[in-house]
Amino acid sequence: MLLCNVGGSVYGIEDICTHDGGPLDQGDLTGTRIMCPRHGAYFDVTTGAALTPPAVMPVGTFQVTVEGDDIFVA
């Protein structure tokens, strides 16, 4: 899984692009959008939604809570 820090809020999504299995953790995070480095598809890290082709299906999301220095993933 992949944790993204967006302006202090932490979101958890699956790390595998639904298009071709690219590693999302290697991609650029701009605001709430993360780009798969393999073919450039964007996902919304808050909802997991695929925003642009070539990805069509969303990535899974995880419930994340932050307590002090610890991050808990449900």
């Binding site: 780009m35 798969c36 480095p37 393999r38 073919h39 450039g40 598809a41 964007y42 642009t52 082709p53 070539p54 069509v56 299906m57």
Partner: protein, 472 residues
């Protein structure tokens, strides 16, 4: 038999637009090769906003980091020497408003292609691309009154930056593939169309493209947006003069059909045999929208082109009609991609190809039906005609079906031109060339009848004239 085999080959060899104009008078020609300075210079010369400069520079990094494709005709692909290409040539100062203002040598080239006549007859707008930049452009006034925007991409970026920034690269991301990244870094020209909600553009919009400088890459970028319930037909024709060393053409075309909208995109590409034509074309069709690609490929050394339609909304419909002709030393690697991502989406793919005199055609296609696309229907039909024993054809269809409640049909055939067919036609008084032309024209008939009259006549005439010229 031997004489007849020469006929289709002649279609490419004696290509009648194989002339080129003097290159004197160019305003700017970049050095060969690609680096950060050239990309910055392109952006600077075009007075682009900072975000576009950054877009280009980032794309350059992506282009460098991406490997060449490891599939398809890799032997030919690796013939491309990226350091031996000019990435930007500017042929004229700015975009001209009236035909009278277009420089004479450029005008001569377009006169030979018949653009002004076409415009007078029935076209609603002509946007003619010469080299890397559009030099002439006009839009009928009533279109403009309806709020339809039809201009070159450079003008769109200047006059409608908010629309361009919102939609550019949302269908084909920069990192989609190496050539999309290259185009994003050095793009110049191409067409921009925006049709407001509910507006139906009754006559087709048209643009011509030409390459006229040795080793010049042409990287046009086209973006067409049909807003809710609107309708538009865009036509693009390409021809290129003869050159001895390879040129690269790498376009990116993005279509967006919003809810209930219809886009038909017709293109005929007739490249000379030394050109690498590596194009990314993709459309997104939202709810109840329709997208149709009508795609003709003649000439080039290697064409790799797979128009795609992403059927993203319920009830969206996609259709791809394509034809390809490969002569000596040519490889037409073309196909279609249909992505069904919503219920009740439908698609049809029809592909026909002819290979002759050692030419090779490949149909490479993908149909993908995602879980939940209940009621999706698709039909794929590809036929290949092989004219002689030296020529070949491959069919490589891929189907990924992940929804049980969908309907998929696939049909493929490969045939040779029949001696009996020829004999029969000739026994009725046709010459060998006429008979061959008739059979080839008949094979392509499904495609030709979808073209506007002017294009249909031109394509039929091209096949027929060249075949007549091949005999005796």
């Amino acid at each position: 038999m031997a004489t007849q085999l020469n006929a289709p080959q002649q279609l490419v060899e004696d290509y009648r637009h194989g002339f080129h104009d003097s290159e004197a008078g160019y305003n700017f020609k970049s050095d060969k090769g690609l680096n950060r300075e050239i990309v910055e210079r392109i952006s600077e010369m075009k007075n682009e906003p900072p975000w576009m400069r950054e877009f280009r520079l980032k794309a350059l990094e992506t282009f460098r980091s991406k490997p060449m494709p490891d599939w398809g005709d890799t032997e030919r692909l690796n013939e491309i020497n990226f350091d031996d290409i000019r990435y930007f040539v500017k042929a004229s100062e700015g975009t001209e408003r009236s035909w009278d203002d277009v420089p004479d040598d450029i005008k001569r080239t377009f006169d030979r292609l018949g653009i002004p006549e076409a415009e007078r007859k029935f076209l609603s707008g002509v946007s003619a691309q010469y080299e890397s930049e559009v030099v002439y452009h006009s839009v009928r006034e009533d279109l403009a009154r309806d709020g339809v925007i039809f201009c070159d991409m450079d003008t769109a970026l200047r006059d409608h930056p908010e629309i361009v920034e919102k939609y550019l690269a949302t269908v084909i991301p920069v990192a989609d593939n190496k050539f999309a990244a290259l185009n994003s870094a050095v793009w110049s020209g191409g067409s921009f169309v925006y049709v407001p909600p509910g507006v139906e553009v009754k006559s087709p919009l048209q643009a011509y493209f030409r390459i006229n400088t040795e080793n010049m890459g042409q990287f046009e970028r086209t973006l067409i947006i049909a807003d809710k319930g609107s309708k538009v037909h865009y036509i693009e024709g390409c021809t290129a003069p003869q050159f001895s060393t390879a040129s690269l053409h790498s376009a990116v075309v993005e279509l967006i059909a919003m809810e209930g909208a219809t886009i038909r995109y017709t293109t005929i590409q007739n490249w000379y045999r030394n050109i690498f034509n590596l194009v990314t074309k993709r459309a997104v069709a939202h709810k109840n929208a329709t997208v149709e690609w009508v795609d003709g490929n003649i000439g080039s050394r290697l064409t790799m082109k797979y128009p795609a339609i992403y059927l993203m909304g319920e009830g969206a419909r996609g259709e791809i009609l394509s034809m390809a002709f490969a002569g000596e030393g040519q490889h037409q690697d073309a196909g279609a991609k249909m992505i069904h991502a919503a219920p009740n989406t439908t698609s049809v793919v029809t592909n026909k190809s002819v290979s002759a005199h050692g030419g090779k055609t490949t149909y490479r296609g993908l149909v993908e039906i995602f879980p939940g696309a209940v009621g999706a229907k698709t039909r794929v039909k590809c036929d290949a005609l092989i004219m002689d024993e030296k020529s070949s054809s491959d069919t490589k269809p891929t189907m990924k079906i992940n929804e049980q409640r969908s309907t998929v049909e696939h049909e493929a055939s490969v045939s040779k031109i029949g001696e009996e067919q020829l004999f029969y036609a000739m026994s009725r008084g046709l010459s060998e060339a006429d008979a061959t032309a008739m059979i080839v024209n008949g094979f392509f008939d499904f495609f030709v009848k979808e073209l506007p009259m002017e294009y249909a006549v031109e394509l039929n005439r091209l096949v027929k004239l060249e075949m007549e010229g091949a005999v005796g």
